[in-house]
């Protein structure tokens, strides 16, 4: 696997406050990596450093094999800043034409890019009249210009409605399949869960967890939940048989099974035979893992 982005022991201090503390990360070709963390965790700082926008104190940064912010790196990297802003007096098409020219691409590509992010009909309107979601999509459209090797997207889905979010991730999937690497930050854990290959969790500049979702689950060793629904009339009997179960509003029992005890618990439930209508197995979600590592880290 070729490495598109490599950070090792990256440290950055703002007036005595550590925004990043020895953070290491590698992103390979075609890989999608999510950067998670509370506000102020250091996500935007990390992104600005690897774009060469702000200096760092120590550590190593390599972007597509070049120094961050070098001409070579900037040619191959696309960026979508947090709260992407554009000049309100220009239309979407004119703004895209500007960015296309900066990358030496034909201006005629603007219409296609705007269509791709669903802004085709608003292309001739001034950006000052756009909603936040529409501006976000202009930001996405400019990030698609050329064939970037690495896309750095800072909270790209903030301000997008659920349908737009899905469309957005579909576009990202296509890019990653074509070999582009993607680093994105997010608050929305559930959407990242299914749509990224690896996850890095930052807390106050410290890397508190990193890996695939499966890795993180194993590391956190969180309980799995079984949701057992009783057959009609079997509720009380089931509650007696599964004394540790917590009754839910819909009549189901929720059982927390410690890491590694899932099969044994399932065997017990199946043994109850006709009393059970259905069982759902809920592995610890990213949300659980996230609050687990954040709590452990003293939040």
């Amino acid at each position: 696997m070729t490495t598109t982005l490599k950070l090792s022991r990256l440290t950055k201090t703002y007036q005595g406050v550590k925004a990043l503390d020895a953070v290491s990360l590698e992103v390979g070709r075609g890989e999608r990596v999510a950067l998670l963390g509370h506000n102020g965790a250091g996500k935007s700082t990390m992104m600005k450093i690897l774009l060469g926008l702000i200096p760092y104190d120590s550590g190593e940064v390599q972007v597509t094999g070049a120094a961050p912010g070098s001409a070579a790196a900037r040619k191959r990297v696309a960026y979508l800043p947090e709260n992407a802003a554009f000049h309100p007096a220009l239309t979407g098409r004119e703004m895209l034409a500007f960015y296309l020219r900066l990358r030496g691409e034909p201006v005629s590509a603007a219409a296609g890019l705007l269509d791709r992010v669903g802004l085709g009909s608003a292309a001739g309107r001034r950006i000052g009249t756009y909603s936040k979601g529409m501006r976000q999509r202009v930001g996405l459209a400019q990030a698609l210009i050329g064939r970037p090797e690495l896309l750095v997207l800072d909270e790209p889905t903030s301000g997008l409605d659920p349908v737009s979010r899905r469309d957005f991730y579909t576009i990202l999937d296509g890019l990653a399949a074509d070999g582009a690497s993607i680093l994105l930050s997010s608050h929305a854990l559930t959407e990242v869960e299914a749509r990224t290959d690896r996850i890095l969790i930052l807390s106050k500049g410290v890397q508190v967890a990193a890996g695939t979702l499966a890795d993180l689950r194993a590391q956190a060793a969180l309980p799995t939940r079984l949701r057992v629904r009783p057959a009609s009339g079997a509720g009380p009997a089931l509650a007696a048989a599964l004394a540790e179960g917590v009754p839910q509003a819909d009549g189901a029992l929720l059982i927390e099974v410690p890491d590694g005890g899932k099969l044994a618990a399932l065997a017990r439930v199946t043994a109850l035979g006709g009393q059970v209508a259905d069982v759902d197995v809920e592995p610890p979600s990213l949300e659980d893992i996230y609050s687990h590592v954040s709590r452990r880290d003293g939040q």
Binding site: R74, P81, A85, H87, L90, M95, F98
Partner: protein, 273 residues
């Protein structure tokens, strides 16, 4: 080159949309028209053609107006990008900060050129309409035009530097107005005070000529007055034009725009988005 063109095109569009073009054009036309009308009385007696006389008064106008328009166009250039939050994305693109600024300067110079063409053109038409000999003044008007652009470029560059230093448009606007006051008003007053105090002493003979040439606005005035031989008509600081070689003032108005652009680029390079 296409990157400079990108910056130029976007900036020029923005200037048109934000009515800067209209404001600058109206301002120049208005002042030129007033000057043409006011300067009508005593011309024939001096023997100069009507347009040459108008150029002399346009020069005095341009000394104030061109730096002002240039600073108004420039103060938002970097600070505005910072405030709108558009700078991080721009600087992530494969474009150098010098290219961005040169493109902006080209666009702002184009706006200024339009305003000057309209204003000086109005004055020329008015002069030729009443005095057919006024065509003889066209070379002087052309000289005023390109030297005005150089003066504008100087203050554009300085305006960009102020914009980068202050980081906020309001702060940059304040600095720009302050600079304008100092460079085109207070500077001359201070020099006059120096002359009065020194008489024919060291300041008047040694320092004053260089102090005049060092200020781009004064150098611009000296150059145009000296070149058109209109020094007799000019009072105050302009009266010194005769004693300073024209090459010195020409050198000053040629060097200043380059120096100002380099200053602007250096200031912009130090901006952390």
């Amino acid at each position: 080159m296409t990157r400079i063109l990108a910056s130029f095109t976007a900036e020029f569009r923005i200037a048109v949309r934000n009515r800067w073009v209209a404001i600058a054009v109206v301002m120049m036309v208005l002042f030129s028209a007033v000057l043409s009308a006011a300067g009508s009385a005593p011309t024939g007696a001096l023997g100069a053609d009507r347009l040459s006389v108008t150029v002399a008064s346009l020069t005095s106008l341009a000394v104030y107006l061109v730096p002002l328009v240039a600073l108004l166009l420039a103060f938002d250039a970097v600070a505005g990008e910072i405030e709108r939050g558009t700078l991080p994305l721009l600087l992530a693109y494969p474009v150098s900060r010098a290219e961005v600024l040169i493109g902006k300067m080209g666009a702002h110079l184009a706006v200024l050129a339009l305003a000057l063409l309209a204003g000086y053109g109005t004055a020329a038409v008015a002069a030729v309409a009443v005095d057919p000999r006024a065509l003889a003044g066209l070379p002087a008007l052309f000289r005023l035009f390109w030297s005005s652009l150089l003066l504008g470029a100087t203050f554009l560059g300085i305006g960009y530097a102020l914009s980068a230093w202050s980081r906020r448009p309001s702060g940059a606007a304040g600095l720009a107005i302050g600079l304008w006051l100092v460079a085109v008003v207070l500077y001359d007053l201070a020099l006059l005070a120096g002359i009065v105090a020194s008489g024919d002493g060291f300041f008047t003979t040694r320092v004053f000529p260089y102090a005049l040439i060092a200020n781009p606005a004064d150098a611009f005035r000296l150059f145009n007055l000296a070149a058109s031989g209109a020094t007799a008509a000019a009072a105050g600081v302009g009266g010194a034009a005769g004693s300073i070689p024209i090459w010195d003032s020409l050198g000053s108005i040629l060097i200043w725009p380059i120096a100002a652009l380099m200053l602007a680029i250096a200031a912009f390079r130090r901006v952390v988005p």
